[in-house]
Symmetry: C2
Subunit: 360 residues, 2 copies
C-alpha cells in the first residue's frame, strides 16, 4: 500500500496534506512556545492568536460584517439540533423545518423532544429524499426556517437557498460549509461540524447573527446558551484547542493556497462535474440523486447489483481508494469529495471505475 490513500470518507474526512505536515512539524514545539499545541493554555497569547486568526479568516472568506459572531461549540451538529430550538423557541412561537433526509429528520426530532412548536413545511421523504423540495410554503410568522444545505447520506444539496422572505434561515452546513461563496443576507445562523470541510472531529462552528441573541432566555444552562459562547469568545470553558488550531490551518489553506471561496467553488465544481459526467455517461454506474438536486460534496451512486458494489468497494480499498461504501442506512456507493480532495483523486478514481467496469 502507498503511504497515503485517496480518502473518500464522509467524515471524519481527508485533510489537506500541507496542513497535516505543518501540524506534524510543529507538534513538539508550537510557535516557539516550547509546548505542543495540545499543551498550550487556552488563556495564552499563543492560543488567542489561533482562535482569533481562525475567526478573522472565516469572516473574510464569507464576507461577514460585524453583525455576526463566529463561535466554536463542542458536541457536533447533533448538539446544535438541541441548542437552536432551546435558544430560539422559548416564547411559544414556532419554527419551520424542511426535511431533506437523515440529518434534517434528527434535527426535527431534537426540537420535538423538547416540546418546541415546529412545523415541517416540506419534505422529500416521498421519494427517499432523492431531491430538494421547491416552492416551499414558509410561514411568515416563523421564528426561523431550518434547513440542511447538503445531505451527506442521500447525496443531495440545495443548489441555491430558498427565499424565506423576512424569516432568518438557520442552516446545518456541516457538509458544505466554505465549499462555495454564500449570500448571508437571509441567514440567521449557520452551524457546521468540522470533520468534513474544515478539520478534525470535535468542534462545531456556529456563525450567529447578533440579533438572534435577543431570543436566548436567561434560564438555560451556560454550556447550552449561545450567549455564553458569544460573550466569552467561545472560551467560557476550555475549548478543543487542537481542533480549532487545525481548522485555522485549513482556513489559511483555503484563503492562501486555494485563493478563496470562488476558487474553492470552481475546484469543487470541476471535481463533482468530472465524476458525475463519467457516471452519467456510463451504463454501469448510476447516480441516485435527481439532476438539479445533486450534491457537489457527496456523490452517491449504485452499481448493477449489491454483489458488484461489494466487490467494487473491496477492490477500491486494495487499490488505495478508501471510504467508498455508502452509508449503512442506504447502501450503495458514495464518494465524499470535500474541499481538501484534489482533482487528482477524482481522476484516479474515474480511471479505477473505468477499469472495474471493463472487467466486470
Amino acid at each position: 500500500m502507498k503511504d497515503r490513500i485517496h480518502n473518500f470518507n464522509a467524515g471524519p474526512a481527508a485533510l489537506p496534506l500541507p496542513v497535516l505536515e505543518e501540524i506534524k512539524d510543529s507538534f513538539l514545539n508550537f510557535a516557539g512556545s516550547g509546548m505542543s499545541i495540545t499543551e498550550v493554555s487556552h488563556r495564552s497569547p499563543w492560543f488567542d492568536g489561533v482562535i482569533n486568526d481562525a475567526i478573522e479568516r472565516v469572516k473574510r472568506l464569507l464576507k461577514l460584517d460585524d453583525q455576526y459572531h463566529v463561535l466554536f461549540v463542542q458536541g457536533g451538529a447533533s448538539m446544535q439540533f438541541c441548542m437552536a430550538p432551546l435558544n430560539f423557541l422559548s416564547d411559544g412561537r414556532s419554527a419551520d423545518f424542511v426535511n431533506t433526509g437523515t440529518w434534517s429528520t434528527k434535527a426535527i426530532k431534537e426540537a420535538e423532544i423538547q416540546n418546541k412548536p415546529i412545523k415541517v413545511v416540506a419534505s422529500s421523504e416521498d421519494k427517499n429524499f432523492c431531491y430538494i423540495p421547491q416552492n416551499i410554503p414558509f410561514n411568515k410568522d416563523a421564528v426561523y426556517v431550518h434547513l440542511t444545505s447538503n445531505n451527506t447520506i442521500k447525496g443531495t444539496q440545495f443548489e441555491t437557498l430558498p427565499d424565506t422572505g423576512d424569516v432568518p434561515m438557520v442552516i446545518d452546513m456541516s457538509s458544505d460549509v466554505l465549499s462555495r461563496p454564500l449570500d448571508m443576507s437571509k441567514i440567521g445562523m449557520i452551524y457546521a461540524g468540522a470533520q468534513k470541510n474544515m478539520g478534525p472531529a470535535g468542534v462545531c462552528m456556529v456563525i450567529l447573527r447578533k440579533d438572534l441573541l435577543d431570543l436566548v432566555p436567561d434560564n438555560i444552562p451556560s454550556m447550552l446558551s449561545y450567549a455564553t459562547f458569544a460573550n466569552k469568545n467561545s472560551m467560557f470553558n476550555t475549548p478543543p484547542c487542537f481542533t480549532i488550531y487545525t481548522i485555522q490551518l485549513v482556513l489559511k489553506w483555503i484563503e492562501e493556497t486555494i485563493g478563496g471561496l470562488e476558487k474553492m467553488d470552481e475546484r469543487n465544481r470541476e471535481k463533482a462535474g468530472t465524476l458525475y459526467d463519467f457516471i452519467d455517461n456510463s451504463g454501469f454506474y448510476k447516480a441516485t440523486a435527481d439532476i438539479g438536486s445533486r450534491s457537489l460534496m457527496n456523490v452517491t451512486f449504485r452499481l448493477p447489483s449489491e454483489d458488484l458494489e461489494k466487490s467494487f468497494v473491496a477492490e477500491a480499498i486494495e487499490n488505495g481508494f478508501g471510504g467508498l461504501k455508502g452509508h449503512r442506512s442506504v447502501g450503495g456507493c458514495r464518494a465524499s469529495i470535500y474541499n481538501p480532495t484534489g482533482i487528482d483523486a477524482i481522476n484516479d478514481l474515474v480511471s479505477f471505475m473505468k477499469e472495474f467496469e471493463k472487467k466486470s
Copy 2:
C-alpha cells in the same frame, strides 16, 4: 530557549513526551491506514480499536467491573455540571453538593439554573476555600452527593473521600483522575475533562455506574442523555477522535511505562512532597492550602509581595518554566504537576526557586 519547556500549566497541561512523539511519528499514516488519525472514520476498525482499547485500559487501571460504563462526552466538565442534574434529578428528589471552590460553585449554579432541588451541605467559603470540609452532614435521602475531588484554583484536594453512606457520589475528578488508586465502592459517577491528567482539551471522560441510568428521563435531548452515550459506545454522533486517541496513548503510558496507579501515586507523592517540603522549609515561599487539605496536583503558594510574584513568574518563563502564575481569580503562584510532569521538572523548579530566593 530550549526546545521544550517545563510546563506547569493548570490545563491544558503537559503531556508525556513519548506520547507526543508517537502522535507525531504516525501523524500522516495512522496504523498503516494511509490516513492521519484526524482523517480516519469513527466507523472503522481503526477507531474502534482506539476507543475500545482506551475503555479497557481505564477499566483495568481503576479496577472497574461490568457495573460501569466508560463514556466520552464533549463539552468538558462544564457540560457535566448541566448534564448530571438534568439526568439524575427529574423526579423531584434532591442532591447534596459540597462547595470547595470555583468549580463546585459553578456545578451548583448549573443545577440551580435548571430549578433542580439541591442542598449545599458543606462549604469552605468562610476561609476562601483553603481547606476541605470534614464531618459533612449528608442527607440520607439525597439522590447523589456531588464533590469536586481536587480544586485546581485553590490547591486543595480530598485526601480521602467522605463516607456518604448509601448515597452514591458523583465526583468532578477533572484535575486528579487517574493520579492515584480509587475505591469505587461508593461512587456512582466520575467525570473528568481530559486536559489535565489525560490528554488534550476536547473531551470529558464519564465513568457511570449502570444503575444510575434508571434515573435518566426519556424526554431530554439525545446529546444531553447519558443513555445515548451508554447505548452507542459514545458514538451516537462523531466523537472527537484525535482527542480520544491521545487519551488512549496516555493511558497506555500510565499502564505500561509508569506501571499503574499505585506507581503513579508514589510518583505524584514524591513530586508534591518535594515541592511542599521545600516551600514549608523556606521563610520566603508560603503554601496557601491548609495541611491535610493540600492538593498533590496543584501546589499554590505566595511570595512575600505581589511585585516579587510578578518577577518570579517572569524570570521563571525566561528560564524555561511555564504556567506558574496563579489563577487570575486568586493571584499568587501555582505549579500544576499532573501525571505527565516528571520529578526532574520538580527538582529543576526547586533549584530555580532557591536561586530566586537567594538573590531577592
